[in-house]
């Protein structure tokens, strides 16, 4: 079915590693933790004019299939990222390479890999002299929703709603106006799902989302694969059985962050 949205909600950069290290020089207040704290307003600044590695020493059986990246737009064109896995001690195998990621809000496919305890995932930053900033990095499994979404789902990547407040003078002249951005809100709706998918995948997603952890959401990977938002759940519905049994329905309301303008 078309329009089976995709998610990265399990960030193995947070859930998997026993230790994290960065080979470059960190800037106080913009340290590596900001890249995987689920918060889009804190940023990590990789070292400029250098190739530096962010290494995550993993536990066992951590699966990665995609890199989710949300980068602040600073106006440069020289930020590349390479993803590696330590396939044997101190031997790193490339899982994917991506270029020009300034301002990116993207889900990038990498080679499916499952970690062995003590081995490292490496995210390598290749930066020119521009100071780039990373809002969020996710490395984890890429989950497709079980069903396509139906008419009525709002594309969260289109124009952000705005409210214009116009001030009128006593005698009726337009004397000023202000703009307030509306929240970008979307619904992820699932119907006619199997009980096993709800229990095995959806519950895993919503349990994380309900604890305040963000996720990357690609609402229509078939037609608009570049349209990705970074989301936080606002309301998580309890799944319910629907007719014809034993199928189920579930849903979630999320507040979304679009790429920087």
């Amino acid at each position: 079915m078309a329009n089976q949205s995709k998610l990265i909600f399990e960030n193995n950069l947070v859930e998997g590693p026993s230790s994290v290290s960065y080979s470059g020089t960190e800037i106080s207040g913009f340290e590596k933790e900001n890249a995987y704290d689920y918060l889009d307003f804190s940023t990590f600044k990789p070292q400029v004019s250098a190739t530096t590695n962010l290494d995550f020493t993993m536990g066992s059986s951590q699966t990665v299939q995609a890199l989710g990246i949300f980068a602040k737009k600073v106006g440069g064109s020289g930020l590349d990222i390479n993803v590696f896995y330590e396939s044997s001690p101190s031997t790193f195998t490339s899982l994917g390479s991506f270029t020009n990621l300034d301002g990116a809000l993207s889900i990038l496919d990498i080679t499916d890999t499952t970690s062995v305890s003590g081995r490292r995932f490496r995210i390598q930053f290749v930066s020119d002299s521009t100071q780039y900033e990373i809002r969020q990095l996710f490395l984890g499994p890429l989950i497709s929703l079980e069903r396509g979404q139906y008419v009525g789902v709002n594309p969260p990547t289109l124009t952000q709603g705005k409210i214009l407040n116009n001030s009128i003078s006593v005698n009726g002249a337009l004397i000023g106006s202000t703009v307030k951005r509306e929240k970008v809100i979307t619904r992820i709706e699932q119907e006619f799902n199997t009980q096993s998918w709800i229990r095995g995948t959806w519950e895993s997603f919503t349990s994380r989302a309900a604890s305040g952890k963000g996720f990357f959401y690609q609402w229509n990977p078939t037609d608009y694969p570049d349209e990705v938002v970074y989301c936080m759940a606002q309301k998580v519905d309890a799944p319910e059985n629907i007719s014809p049994t034993p199928l189920m329905r579930a849903g979630l309301t999320a507040i979304c962050r679009q790429p920087d303008e």
Partner: protein
Amino acid sequence: MTYDTQKVKAGKEPVQILEIDVRACSLTYGTGACTASGAAGTECFNSFATCQDQANYANVTKTFRFSSVPLDGLQSAGDCPTFPTLMGVSTTPTVLTPAKGFGIRSKVTVNLMDMPWSDVGIDKYRDNRTYNPLEQGSFWSKFMSRWPFYENNEIRIKTGYLDDNGNYDASNFITRTYFLDTIAGPDKNGRVTIVGKDILKFADGEKANIPDQSQATLTDDITAGATSFDIVDPQSQISNGDYIRIDEETMLITNRVGDTLTVTRAAMPSTYTGTMTAEEHSEGSTVQHCHFFNAEQVDDILYYLLNTGAGIPASYLPTSEWQDTIDFGLENYLFTALITEPTPVKDLVKELTEHSILVWYDERAQKVKMDSIMWRAVDYGPFNDDSHIIADSVSVARDDKSRFSQCWLHYGLRTPVSEMDELKNYAAVKLTADLDAEGVNEYDQSKIRKIFSRWLPLEKQNVASEIANRLVNYYRDTKNAITFSFEPKDDSAWTGDRLELATRLIQDQFGATSLREYRVISVRERFSKGIVSYDYTAHSTGGIYEGSVSRYGVITPNSMGDYPSETLENKSRYAFIAYDDRGDGNEGFPTLDRPYLIL
């Protein structure tokens, strides 16, 4: 781009930012000057409350920022990011009561959401901690343990607009500065409420008194005739040349050797005309040192009270602006008073304001302002219903209660220890009455304002007369009290400023909407749901009918030109005799230009 260019644009996107300063240590745990030596994971949080080597604590200012929308661009190295958790800001503005005290002082209440935080930008040693700060505790709960000594720290509210690309630019913001009073929460809903007050809170009696409380005491009983005696003075507060007060007697110290004082008994400055009697005093009695203001100008007294007394930094006290106020007709205001017991600075400033003076905190200029009730040229305007006043925001009231037709200014306090609110303790009263205002054709009644002044000795009859005349002239008529709202494009006028405004709700006898002059009594910034507006309350400088106001001027130098050719500043400062052609061939001043009273 600047705030003034951005605020006039249509489609501007308003943003509010809160900045909170805290005191933090610049050292690194166990390194250099810091001798703390705990195990890894038990380090401090670079705050005094968590410091393990307080003797070597090295104070610097650390700033936390919170915004109403996600905002990049404020964070510098070493800072936390700007947390987009600012839920709302409400302001209680300064309200002026011209020549009647401090009025209402400004206050700001800020609501924030609590959140988990990784301690980046806060905890230098988080790699050593044995817990994940994102999963243990929340920002504000931890803040309260790390920085419990937050009271009186500076907080700033910045209001402004994103640039045309939706980005932050510091020059597009204006700042209002307050001082932290309370932090409540986080509550069960994760909300935190911060209250900040204006800098004049430091003048409150619980914080600042002039003179400060003496700890000196008599070591033995003394007789009424003793001119030398010993004291215990643990804080070295008593100096040669000081006046001191013991019980109800003041004395002048003529010599101090060690803890032995030689004094002139029952002494007080010569400006006091009453009598004082030397009395016996008992061992252990407090020897209170006094502060003597000796023929000082108001701005100098105010500076001493607020800077030395209340500890307000000089950067908040624009003495050159105050001097400008003094130079505009207050040159004769030389005040004298011996303050013989600890008196709240706030009360002393309030007393000063009753002498036709205004003192208030301008949170936007971040300065304590001083002005007088003297008529001066307007600062802003003209404003009108067409282009400035927001629809449905205007209302007009008549401030009947503030009007008075007589001023009884009691002065010449007989002794510095006399009760200030008893008539018998004053040598004189200056009574000024406006008989026209009291006549049957006007208000047909007398309304009296009484002022008890410790600052004017009997010899200052001329100053008492000036003050009483000015007060009656200013308050003889009922004033229009008008409230209205402006768009940000017209927000330049602020508390204390004078402006010209015309609204159809105030008309002349012919029904024409006429331009009137007002003083801004209060301004409240409203910022809600993306809408910014400024609610003004202003009082007319004259009465509710035209022609009732005169302006003051000093006698002009010979070099002064004719009235029409002179600058606005000179017209505001100097008195001109009626011009022989007001523009229509007749004698007098042009319409709206008031006649002068010569100082």
